[in-house]
Assembly symmetry: C2
Homo-oligomer: 134 residues x 2
């Protein structure tokens, strides 16, 4: 009998590095929180544990979002695109998503011909990430 998560993985096309881009979106407000990468193992953990787990390319390690900061992303639904090469992760974000203390990582907007910071930090970043960084 095939493990259901193996079937989930069978539908996903990982890239040459064995990764797939994963977009985290707050399930009820629609806010796009961040974009990160998942390995097969992080997809497996995400589905098995019901919380987003990414692959940190800088640390080359599994990254259970919020494991040190408490910024856990509870999985609401995992979606896959038409080509099978991008994931959309509906989550309930606890606290803020960004390591700068902002709710979303996408806080630079191109306005008036410059990158403009459009969101304030809601928490002090140094309190969030003593160890965990993307």
């Amino acid at each position: 009998m095939t493990d259901p998560i193996d079937r989930a993985l069978d539908g996903i096309k990982f890239d040459a590095d064995g990764l797939i881009p994963a977009i985290a979106q707050q399930h009820d407000t629609g806010e796009v929180l961040m974009m990160a990468w998942m390995s097969p193992e992080s997809v497996r953990i995400t589905l098995a544990e019901g919380r987003a787990c990414y692959w940190s390319r800088s640390r080359q390690a599994l990254w259970r979002k919020g494991e040190t900061s408490g910024q856990v992303q509870r999985l609401k639904e995992l979606r896959l695109d038409c080509d099978g090469d991008a994931l959309l992760v509906f989550v309930e974000q606890e606290g803020v998503a960004c390591h700068t203390g902002r709710r979303s990582c996408f806080f630079h907007a191109w306005r008036d011909r410059q990158w403009t910071v459009i969101a304030d930090a809601l928490v002090a970043p140094e309190t969030l990430y003593p160890q965990e960084k993307p």
Copy 2:
């Protein structure tokens, strides 16, 4: 005098292939429509022309979204994430985003232990893409 778009590009970290992931989101509903890739030149065109232009990795060519299908994405705002390595493209999507004729490319949801199609095609795909494919 620096071209403002050069300044925009200066803030963006392109990957080893010279590309950056770009998430297209319908600006008013928050629906995530698709994920694709942008090159410096496609970012330049997106900002200069006010419509999303991607880089098609399969065709190795610039891809003005909707150039053959009419599924144009009018740019509302371009956003950049904290690390400068992912773009969020707020757009007004004309028609559907997906080459299958669905509004969003993310129409597979992991439900009941299988990838489940959760959206119907709104237009027949063969009418959309005589030539254009991602």
